[in-house]
């Protein structure tokens, strides 16, 4: 590549960067240093190339984890500044520092690309979000979920679930909860363990517990039962310890809601992009 051509490409990318990352041209956001709003395909492509060159050996080509952890969904969970900081300065557990190898634009392009890996599917929204909110309110969902500070924390918070999951995934979660669990962010060299794994436990004394796995190590496990209470066990003290992917403490809304209501509820959930 000639030097002049390189300058032109740089100028072009710099212009793209300015257009995409300029806070004046993007929608207002509560965070500084947010991911590129509405990234251009060129940004995502650049991010993909940088990711595949620098990151995929450890995190896998799909970000699902390899020598390093599963990082699908990481920008939404930790926020772009934290991810940019981790890329720049590295972090404990094996993540190298890329300062000097990647500039700020490349880091943001990688984050933009990572965001495309967070949607497990796309699907389409066909319902009405406003009606969906009514369905949410009248179906008892807030008894287990928190949206923008309101509700109960038995199940996962849904404040930005529309950023993390596509409509098809949300529909499946409403109708067949527990059948397609997301990978948790844990520092394993393999893919992460599944979030919300259903666990059935019977202690040596004969006490039975059902719940979702909150955390597990090789010796212990903590579960959260359907009332939101945590229970901590040493595995050596258990008579039965069964992981049952496919089951869930969340009831299925299949048959309880009409097809239209499910569509509306999915539209509402898909519209949840963050705290207001």
């Amino acid at each position: 590549m000639t030097a002049i051509r390189r300058v032109w490409i740089f100028a072009f990318l710099f212009t793209l960067w300015g257009m995409a990352a300029n806070p004046l041209s993007a929608s207002p956001s509560p965070r500084q240093d947010t991911p590129i709003a509405n990234p251009a395909p060129a940004d995502i492509e650049q991010g993909k190339q940088a990711f595949e060159t620098r990151c995929s050996t450890c995190h896998g080509l799909d970000g699902g984890g390899a020598m390093g952890p599963n990082i699908q969904g990481i920008p939404m969970r930790l926020g772009a500044p934290a991810v940019a900081d981790a890329i720049k300065n590295g972090m404990s557990g094996g993540m190298p520092a890329f300062a000097g190898q990647l500039d700020a634009m490349q880091i943001q392009q990688i984050i933009a690309y990572l965001l495309t890996l967070t949607h497990k599917d796309t699907g389409t929204v066909t319902g009405d979000p406003a009606k969906g909110k009514q369905v949410y309110d009248s179906s008892g969902c807030a008894g287990c979920h928190i949206i923008a500070g309101e509700g109960s924390g038995v199940g996962p918070e849904l404040t930005m679930v529309g950023q993390l999951r596509g409509p098809g995934y949300l529909r499946n979660a409403v109708v067949f909860p527990g059948t397609d669990l997301p990978q948790a962010r844990v520092f394993l060299e393999t893919g992460g363990l599944l979030d919300y794994m259903f666990v059935h436990i019977v202690t040596k004394e004969g006490h039975a517990f059902d719940g979702t796995r909150v955390v597990e190590d090789s010796f212990r496990i903590v579960i959260k039962d359907a009332s939101g209470k945590f229970h901590s066990f040493d595995k050596a003290d258990l008579r039965e310890f069964k992981k049952e992917p496919g089951k869930s403490v969340m009831p299925s809304f299949s048959g309880k809601l009409s097809g239209e209501q499910v569509n509306d509820l999915v539209a509402y959930l898909a519209s949840l992009k963050g705290a207001q």
Binding site: G60, D62, A99, Q183, L194, E216, S218
Partner: protein, 539 residues
């Protein structure tokens, strides 16, 4: 002129002053006979045989339940990628703080005695690795560290003052040092990292007193050199075979045993037909001359990133009624090997984890390839073990007491995806060649501590772990095996049965060698995790 004369007189005085040489002296002879001073830990893996074994037995199966934290040390600044294994000698523990700081601690209390931090470039190049240091070496009155920017630095063991500093290789080209040096017989032996940046590997020996390079053994050949015929395309610039961990040493044979890493580019083998010597091999090297005495290549023409940089475990045992000098090696490719360490001849080998890439080993230990196990474009090929192998670089342990080889294994596979990039001249911009893997889900993977009969590889017991772990193993004469989990447990197992007898959650996975030492009549077990260096003892 006058100053020079005074300097000469002073240096002659110092060199001939017996008081100085007695002040702090971890002589070669002391390291040779390290088993006779179990209170110390004088090399990376406890002895030149790299057995990760402690003859101490104050802490044992009967009393381990009362093992408690004795002290904790934390660096003044938080560190990343803590994989530092200490040296313990004469009341002092020498640790590294990533990337390249050396610190001396009071071994009884963990209090800091001195600390040395080299000046590193603003941007240290670390491609396919992270800037860390797995530890130092000690010899006589000096401590040695290989730095993230590829310098070898000798420090005064009493003060941390720099005695000499030599430039080993060009960090801008991707060369980095992460492994601990090996000090022996007036020399400091070091390896180098950077295969993913397509550097050419080597092993170097430096004069321990002066830092002058004595020999260099390149680990890939150039055209016209032996082994060049194993790199197709004639003039291909053979790259890789880096030597980024620690070696072992047999003083009777005067041979150093050092493992080598993958060829470059890793996931694209189009331009390098042939076996690609001496990648993914164990090299036996004459300690005086640096001449290659023999090699054993575990994974010819490798393209799954299965380096062979784990320290080779040397042990002696009887096979078919004859006493033999042996090497035990649990390779990243999933096979456990027993080699004759005099000749390098293969004795036996068997998978120690699930593997799908080879149908077995032939009479010479060469793998018999299984079909369709190469990385492919698109969705990739599912192969066992994964990129991290049956075990990666983390040290196994051999107990002369049980005759067992203890290793922390990874039971998982991955989809291997072929890269399309080529090696380009000039400083590397990233991992050369591209490609990579898609990992299996966590629920489809697990880890284990496995005890293998060292002479056969036959499994005696296993203790399952939730996830594949990156924690080295220590065995002790107290009948215990120490290791950790990726979830943050540090635990002890019964060395005979694998039954867990003690564990504690450290809040972060350990990554350094567990080691053991004794001071003031008390045995300690040492480990690191997160930002923390800690020692355990009985109350």
């Amino acid at each position: 002129m006058r100053i020079a004369k005074y300097a000469l007189v002073l240096s002659l005085f110092l060199a001939g002053n017996p008081a100085r040489s007695l002040a702090q002296n971890v002589s070669y002879e002391r390291i040779l006979h390290s088993q006779s001073e179990p209170q110390s830990w004088l090399t990376y893996s406890g002895s030149y045989f790299s057995q990760q074994y402690s003859p101490l037995k104050q802490i044992n199966r009967q009393n381990i339940a009362s093992l408690k934290i004795a002290w904790i040390y934390q660096p003044s600044k938080p560190v990343s990628n803590l994989e530092s294994s200490p040296i313990v000698a004469d009341g002092v523990m020498y640790i590294t703080e990533p990337p390249s700081t050396v610190t001396a601690l009071d071994v009884r209390t963990g209090l800091r005695l001195w600390s040395y931090t080299p000046t590193l470039p603003e941007h240290v190049v670390s491609i396919g690795l992270y800037a860390t240091s797995r530890g130092v070496a000690i010899l006589d009155d000096m401590v040695y560290i290989g730095t993230a920017d590829s310098h070898l630095i000798a420090l005064d063991a009493k003060t941390g003052a720099v005695r000499w500093n030599v430039h080993v290789a060009d960090n801008v080209m991707g060369y980095a040092m992460t492994g601990p040096p090996l000090a022996l017989k007036g020399k400091v032996i070091v390896g180098i990292a950077g295969s993913e940046a397509a550097v050419r590997g080597f092993i170097d020996a430096y004069d321990a007193k002066t830092g002058k390079r004595i020999w260099r053994l390149w680990t890939t050949p150039r055209v016209g050199e032996p082994g060049a015929e194993t790199w197709g395309n004639g003039a291909y610039e053979s790259a890789g075979a880096t030597t980024w961990n620690n070696g072992s040493y047999d003083p009777d044979l005067n041979l150093i045993y050092w493992g080598t890493g993958n060829p470059a580019p890793d996931f694209n083998d189009d331009d390098r037909p042939g076996d690609n010597l001496y990648t993914c091999s164990l090299l036996a090297v004459d300690a005086d001359t640096g001449k290659l005495k023999w090699y054993f290549q575990f994974s010819p023409h490798e393209d799954h990133d299965w380096d062979s940089d784990e320290p080779a475990v040397l042990f002696n045992a009887t096979i078919d009624g004859k006493p033999r000098k042996l090497v035990g090696f649990a390779n990243r490719n999933g096979f456990y090997y027993v080699l004759d360490r005099v000749t390098g001849k293969f004795i036996t080998g068997a998978p120690f984890v699930k593997e799908t890439w080879a149908k077995g080993l032939d009479a010479n230990g060469r793998p018999i390839p299984a079909p369709n196990q190469e990385p492919t474009l698109g969705a990739g090929t599912l192969v066992y073990p994964s990129i991290t192998g049956g075990v990666d670089w983390t040290s196994p342990s051999y107990s002369p007491q049980t005759g067992l080889f203890y290793v922390s294994v990874h039971e998982t596979g991955a989809y291997f995806i072929k890269g399309t990039g080529k090696i380009e001249p000039g400083p590397p911009k990233g991992i050369v060649g591209g490609g990579g893997i898609r990992a299996l889900a966590g629920e489809q993977s697990y880890g284990a501590i496995r005890a293998l009969e060292a002479t056969t590889g036959k499994r005696k017991w296993e203790f399952k772990l939730l996830a594949p772990a990156w924690v080295p193993v220590l065995s002790t004469a107290g009948g215990l095996v120490f290791s950790g989990t990726d979830e943050g447990n540090f635990f002890a197992l019964d060395a005979d049965t694998g039954k867990p007898v003690w564990n504690i959650e450290l809040g972060h996975s350990a990554r350094s060698n567990p080691i053991s030492y004794e001071v003031g009549g008390k045995q300690y077990i040492f480990i690191t995790a997160g930002n923390v260096y800690m020692a355990f003892s009985l109350p």
